[in-house]
């Protein structure tokens, strides 16, 4: 059982081996010096039955192929992986200067032919390095004179003319022809006006490079991704590094031991400094869209929604993703005009941006969680995003579609506390616009034709007052007259007397002498009472005479008044039946009253 399982697994793994793609990778040094020997390697992940190398006509063939095999077996989470790598190594030597291309090698695995990649090898002029040993040996003791050509630091930029927002890569590289042992303190360049992010270096690696026909050992000290923050000519200030160099000293006598233990080798430090590099940053064209945020590169915008139909108080997740190359980090969450009664939470931002020597790329995702609080049909408007396209050198606008959402009535359990909050937002939002005009025809006021200030107005008060005064005056007069009782009595004295006389006259006609004299006396007394404003009770003959005398009346009139009172009083007690007598007295009384009326008018 166990055996069969083992066999099975073996078959399986071998099958895996067969099913796997066969790859052939050719590798060799980029640069070699003329006359230098080097290795050319072909790595195959399966055992090759045959390997046909390209022609090595441009090089001296020294030997090979030597074969080495590497097995590796891994079992990750039960998945077993078996890797075998076969390496075929040829040793070659460069024999002339120039760039030479090595054509692909043909490898036959399991009857099938596979070809490797082709590689190019740059053969440079041989340095004096090989002879240097002798040279230095001939020198006297002391450090060698190292020129700027032998050891220099340089800041290399991949572009010197870019747009604002576009990135560039600055590489600080040390070039050396001397024996470099160690690196001391490093002063990075200052990038004024740039936003920098450093590309992590795994470890310092020495590489050979051909610079104008000279072979240098190069080390990349640091690498920076730079994004200019302003336009114009920006300068990258120089960088500095301390290098430790090893050199031989001529100690006169040489022993193998000395050389072996490095006793005649000494070290020195040297500071090297790069030169400043200037970069021209072009401003972005002026016709910027309103929603442009400084994003430069090439992007696309995607959006998705998890549901269109839901109940109130359920959550919707809206996702907007910007993918592409460029300064993604500048993209802010989109300002989406959600319907007012949606509860909107701050978007969740998922950054998936990697920054490498190819600039920033990746995606930025904004996840909006919104909760409609009321039933209804809503629209989430389309979202627009503008960026500057570096390829076409124009602004481009991306848009994500709008979404129609229909919200059904929820169970309403948590409606109440939410409403107030939503309402508040509503007010704030709507409050941004003025209220509408008033359309119902309003009552106008005239700007002319005022009553106030007109002469009519000002005259109406004095007129009213005048009328008032007039009425008061007339009324006062009337009252005055009415209130003067004596005067009235005075005026009415004759009337009353005449009335009584008329009554007396009628008694005379009916020959009722007693009543006649009585009435006659009453008329006379009454008349004087009224005339002199003396109550009847107080009236006496003396008073009447005094009053008349006081009015300067003649003695005749006084005696006549006296006589008639006497006659009447006498007649009352001894009434004469004679009609002639009565007539005489009557006419006398009338005469007295008439006379009095005439004489006493001035009272």
């Amino acid at each position: 059982m166990r055996l069969s399982l083992f066999i099975l697994s073996l078959i399986f793994s071998s099958g895996l081996l067969v099913g796997q793609d066969v790859t052939v990778i050719a590798s060799g040094p980029n640069v070699v010096a003329n006359g230098e020997a080097f290795y050319l390697k072909y790595q195959v992940n399966a055992q090759a039955t045959k390997l046909v190398p390209p022609s090595f006509g441009d090089f001296d063939f020294l030997g090979g192929p030597s074969t080495s095999t590497m097995h590796s077996y891994s079992n990750v989470n039960g998945v077993a992986q078996n890797t075998v790598t076969y390496t075929y190594t040829y040793t070659l030597r460069a024999k002339k200067e120039g760039k030479f291309k090595l054509n692909p090698a043909i490898v036959t695995v399991g009857g099938k032919e596979y070809s490797s990649n082709s590689i190019t090898i740059d053969v440079a002029k041989a340095n004096q390095q090989s002879n240097q040993n002798q040279n230095t040996q001939n020198q006297t003791s002391g450090p060698p004179n190292i020129s700027g050509n032998d050891l220099y630091l340089s800041v290399l930029v991949n572009r010197t003319n870019i747009f604002q927002g576009e990135y560039l890569v600055a590489t600080v590289k040390l070039f050396s022809k001397v024996d470099l042992v160690d690196l001391g303190s490093y002063n990075p360049p200052t990038f004024n006006g740039f936003l920098k992010s450093e590309v992590e270096q795994k470890q310092l690696q020495l590489q050979k490079e051909n610079v104008n026909g000279n072979i240098y050992n190069t080390v990349v000290i640091a690498q920076y991704i730079l994004t200019p923050q302003k336009s114009g000519k920006l300068i990258i200030e120089p960088s500095e590094i301390e290098c430790v160099i090893q050199y031989r000293v001529n100690s006169g006598r040489r022993s193998l031991m000395d050389e072996f233990f490095g006793r005649n080798v000494q070290r020195m430090t040297k500071k090297v400094r790069s030169s400043a590099v200037s970069v021209v940053v072009n401003p972005l064209p002026g016709n910027k869209p309103n929603d442009f945020n400084g994003t430069v590169g090439k992007f696309n915008l995607e959006s998705s929604i998890d549901k269109n139909e839901l109940m109130a108080n359920e959550a919707i997740t809206l996702t907007y993703t910007v993918k592409g190359k460029g300064n993604l980090e500048l993209i802010d969450p989109f300002q989406i005009k959600f319907p007012h009664n949606f509860e909107v939470y701050d978007p969740k931002i998922i950054n998936n941006v990697s920054t490498g020597i190819n600039g920033s790329s990746g995606s930025k995702t904004f996840e909006y969680l919104v909760i409609p609080r009321h039933a209804g049909n809503y629209t989430i408007p389309e979202v627009k995003f503008s960026y500057f396209d570096l390829e076409s050198k124009t602004y481009k606008q991306l848009s994500a579609q709008s979404y129609e959402i229909s919200v059904a009535k929820g169970d309403g359990t948590n409606d109440v506390p939410v409403i107030s909050g939503v309402e508040k937002e509503d007010l704030k939002y709507i409050g941004k616009d003025i209220r509408h005009i008033k359309t119902n025809a309003s009552s106008f006021e005239r700007t002319n034709g005022f009553i106030f200030g007109s002469s009519t107005y000002f005259l109406s008060f004095p007129a009213a007052l005048l009328a008032f005064i007039l009425i008061v005056f007339l009324r006062k007069n009337h009252i005055k007259k009415n209130s003067d009782i004596a005067g009235v009595k005075n005026k009415k004295a004759k009337k009353i007397a005449e009335k009584r006389l008329r009554v007396a006259h009628s008694y005379m006609n009916s020959s009722n002498s007693e009543l006649f004299y009585d009435e006659l006396l009453k008329a006379i007394w009454g008349y004087f009472s009224d005339k002199f404003n003396i109550p009847l009770a107080d009236l006496s003959r003396e008073k009447i005479i005094d009053k008349i005398k006081a009015l300067n009346q003649s003695e005749d009139f006084v005696s006549e008044v006296n006589a008639i009172i006497d006659t009447c009083e006498f007649a009352r007690y001894a009434p004469s039946e004679s009609k002639g007598e009565m007539n005489f007295i009557y006419s006398k009384a009338v005469g007295i009253i008439g006379m009095s009326e005439k004489n006493l008018k001035q009272i």
Partner: protein, 249 residues
């Protein structure tokens, strides 16, 4: 004869009223269409015909607001507010218009009594107050007459109180009539229309700078000579500014 004149007057007034309400309707229609410049012209035409109302100035202010002419909008809202001090819409839009300009909306706090008086004053027009004052004066006089010739002590007391009250009414109504007329006719408030204006101590370009006012600030014009106006700010500061930097009704 007199009757005929009165009837004629009423007819003319009615015709005028209907004509203006027609104009108002058309102006409102222009506004609703979004043709704010035409709406402004129509509203102004009604005003030039000798009519005025809070709503009219409010609508005109709205039209100015829509065209982005905030100083004029503020001016008309202020005018509308003077004619109808308690209208919430006017206050609201005035507040919004002030947000659009640099100047602050500085309204002096008023005494509560003043506000009450103002509210009472706004009940009727100047003419109504004038008529009321005449009538109450006449009634006052009549009461005095009855008082003078009445003999009953109780009646006399009541009449005296009534007469004093009516005289008071008459005086108040006269004052209100005057103030309402002023509300309608005299509006000396102006609004700064330039973004910033330097106020000078004398009507001269080389005059000393006194202070700076910003767009939307309310000033009252106290004096003017060709090219210059003397203005007094709400806080009492005064000075001369070039005539073109303010807008007036």
């Amino acid at each position: 004869m007199k009757n005929i004149i009165i009837i004629l007057g009423i007819v003319i007034a009615l015709v005028g009223q209907s004509q203006t309400s027609e104009l108002l309707d058309s102006a409102n229609a222009r506004y609703n269409e979004g043709n704010y410049t035409l709406a402004i012209n129509s509203y102004k035409k009604i005003i030039s015909m000798g009519y005025v109302s809070a709503d009219l100035h409010y609508n005109l202010g709205n039209a100015y607001y829509r065209t982005g002419d905030f100083p004029h909008a503020i001016l008309n809202y202020e005018r509308a507010r003077k004619l109808s001090p308690n209208d919430e819409d006017i206050k609201f839009n005035l507040h919004l218009a002030y947000l659009k300009v640099s100047a602050k909306n500085e309204t002096k706090p008023e005494l509560t009594v003043n506000i009450w008086l103002k509210n009472i004053r706004m009940i009727a027009s100047s003419n109504s107050w004038a008529i009321f004052s005449i009538i109450s004066f006449i009634i006052f006089l009549s009461l005095v007459l009855v008082f003078l010739f009445s003999s009953n002590i109780t009646t006399k007391r009541i009449l005296l109180v009534g007469a004093v009250v009516l005289l008071f009414f008459s005086v108040i109504a006269t004052i209100f009539s005057y103030q309402r007329k002023n509300d309608v006719l005299n509006f000396s408030t102006a609004v700064i229309s330039d973004p910033t204006v330097t106020v000078k101590s004398s009507p001269d370009v080389n005059g000393n700078d006194v202070f700076i006012v910003y767009e939307g600030a309310m000033v009252s014009v106290k004096d003017s000579i060709p090219g210059w106006k003397r203005v007094v700010l709400q806080n009492g500061e005064s000075g001369w500014i070039p005539a073109g930097t303010i807008v007036e009704i």
